[in-house]
């Protein structure tokens, strides 16, 4: 690999950020003008939302299970096993539900978007679309962006719910806790700020998954090898961004709601 000078490296990075910002802005703004591709938005909602349900449900459920199991060990030392419900609910709703759902959907869909759009790019289908008078950002990126943001919000709610249910299963079946007390404690532990924090995060994660996936797809170069590279980069970059943005949103929400 040729060695790039620091100057050209910096220029490339800044140009990439600029391109990413322009793409993201157009993807957002396109929904406010015609033509709007509603059919594509619904297709993407089905593919991204319904298609990701199994992995989100499984991940959420077993995360709730393991959270209950692990926290019970520590809580037992303080004689507070009955607070397992509080811990599972708070952890799932504020942090693990949104982040794990974001990471799972990123692994499945950011890669899918990068590879699909990347294949279209290297086989000149994107150019063909432009030649046929269609804006590829409007047709391909905007539907994926809005579908991901919309569906990730609901996928997170599902992950939270099945996570708490998984915790309940472990708490009742393995820890011998009362189901009613578990759910009561879970419910009591959550306040408005926690829900707001947990449901704000998927909006950012959805945005990151779609824009990063589409950005790498639309900028694919170098044939099938380039498609593979774009796919890997999309998953890596979107996953890292999700965790970084999770921290920033958490800090901001703690500042706003005080917890």
């Amino acid at each position: 690999m040729p060695f790039a000078s620091p100057e050209s490296f910096a220029k490339q990075r800044i140009a990439a950020i600029q391109d990413y910002s322009v793409l993201s802005w157009h993807a957002i703004a396109n929904i406010f003008s015609r033509p709007r591709y509603w059919a594509d938005i619904y297709t993407q909602m089905d593919s991204i939302g319904v298609g990701s349900m199994p992995i989100v449900v499984l991940t959420g459920f077993f995360t709730g299970c393991v959270l209950a199991l692990q926290s019970a060990t520590s809580l037992q030392e303080f004689g507070s096993v009955s607070l397992t419900g509080n811990l599972v609910a708070l952890s799932m709703v504020k942090e693990l539900g949104p982040v794990l759902t974001g990471l799972m959907v990123s692994g499945r869909n950011a890669s899918g978007m990068a590879s699909e759009l990347g294949s279209m790019k290297v086989t000149e289908q994107i150019d063909a679309m432009r030649a046929l008078g269609t804006d590829p950002v409007r047709k391909l990126v905007t539907p994926r962006l809005y579908a991901t943001v919309f569906m990730l919000f609901f996928l997170t709610i599902i992950a939270d719910a099945v996570g708490i249910a998984g915790g309940a299963l472990v708490a009742v079946a393995l820890l011998g806790l009362n189901a009613s007390s578990y759910f009561h404690n879970s419910y009591r532990a959550l306040v408005y700020g926690d829900i707001a924090q947990g449901l704000t995060k998927p909006l950012f994660s959805g945005f990151i998954i779609a824009t990063v996936g589409c950005y790498f797809g639309m900028n694919t170069k170098g044939g099938t090898q380039g498609v593979g590279k774009s796919t890997t980069q999309a998953v890596v970059v979107s996953s890292v961004f999700i965790i970084i943005v999770d921290f920033i949103v958490s800090r901001a929400m703690i500042g706003i709601f005080g917890r």
């Binding site: 086989t123 000149e124 289908q125 063909a128 432009r130 030649a131 008078g133 804006d135």
Partner: protein, 281 residues
């Protein structure tokens, strides 16, 4: 000259539109990729009804030139006017409107894998909200033109390379464009299939008299285009009698990003340029 019918119709076409201005005017265009100059100081024009064959060895910048004409790429310097509009200075949204008058056949067909042949061919009609019934009728007509109406329900991966190329031609002509850009329509195809594709280009040229740019690096394809015509009575492509050549077909030869020849078939075969003579040999 033996291609009078084609020329007469081309003149009619010109009169119809009431304009004698060239359809494509390329002026002093250069483009560099990274540090490599791909095209240098390219200037030529394409008249209404003309078929301009862009010949040259692979890697000479032919496809880049085609994309520049369609506004898919922007040159580093120079101007390109298509239908009198400067595509190098137009916004992408305006280019989308201009491209409604341009059909393009891509090197590897570039059909949308997720759409059926019908949806691929009707893509532009669907974008323009043409009613389904009319769109279907026009798709059937376009597929009949390329003799592939039986593939209407198939998907691109189910078709052979030659069939994909023909579907791509159907997609390019369905909106009855005023300019068709063929980017290596025979690239990677066997000689028999290549001839079939070139015959379709000839048919389109002689039936619709659409201005077109045809890229090829196969000399036999280029001369097939120049020396044959479509006979509407027999419905077949045949050699122009008495070894004649089609006047509306002209050549542009590119080598290493520069124009080495711009002229008629007659001028090309009688060239004295040593490189060109060797290339044509």
């Amino acid at each position: 000259m033996t291609a009078e019918p084609a020329n007469e119709s081309a003149s009619l076409n010109q009169a119809d539109t009431g304009s004698t201005e060239p359809v494509v005017v390329v002026e002093d265009v250069s483009i560099i990729f990274d540090v490599k100059p791909v095209l240098q100081n390219i200037s030529f024009s394409v008249q209404r009804g003309e078929t301009r064959i862009i010949l040259g060895p692979a890697g000479g910048g032919k496809s880049v030139l085609m994309k520049l004409v369609n506004g898919l790429l922007r040159p580093d310097s120079g101007t390109i006017r298509v239908f009198g509009e400067d595509v190098t200075a137009m916004r992408e949204t305006d280019l989308f409107k201009l491209r409604a008058r341009i059909g393009m056949v891509f090197q590897e067909s570039a059909l949308f894998d997720s759409l059926s042949v019908e949806d691929n061919v009707a893509y532009r009609l669907h974008e323009d909200r043409v009613p389904d019934e009319e769109a279907h009728k026009r798709v059937v007509e376009a597929l009949q033109f390329v003799e592939l109406e039986q593939t209407i329900a198939k998907f691109p991966p189910e078709l052979s390379g030659g069939m994909r190329r023909r579907v791509s031609i159907a997609r390019a002509i369905i909106a009855k464009p005023d300019l068709i850009l063929y980017d290596s329509p025979t690239g990677g195809l066997d000689p028999i299939t290549s001839t079939t594709i070139i015959e379709l280009v000839i048919k389109q040229r002689d039936v619709s008299h659409t201005t077109s740019l045809v890229i090829t690096h196969r000399l036999q394809d280029a001369f097939l285009l120049a020396r044959h015509r479509f006979n509407i009575q027999t419905g077949k492509v045949e050699p122009i009698p008495n070894g004649g050549i089609d006047d509306s077909t002209k050549f542009l030869v590119l080598n290493e990003g520069r124009i080495v020849f711009d002229g008629t078939t007659h001028e090309l075969v009688h060239t004295t340029d040593p490189w060109l003579k060797e290339y044509l040999a």
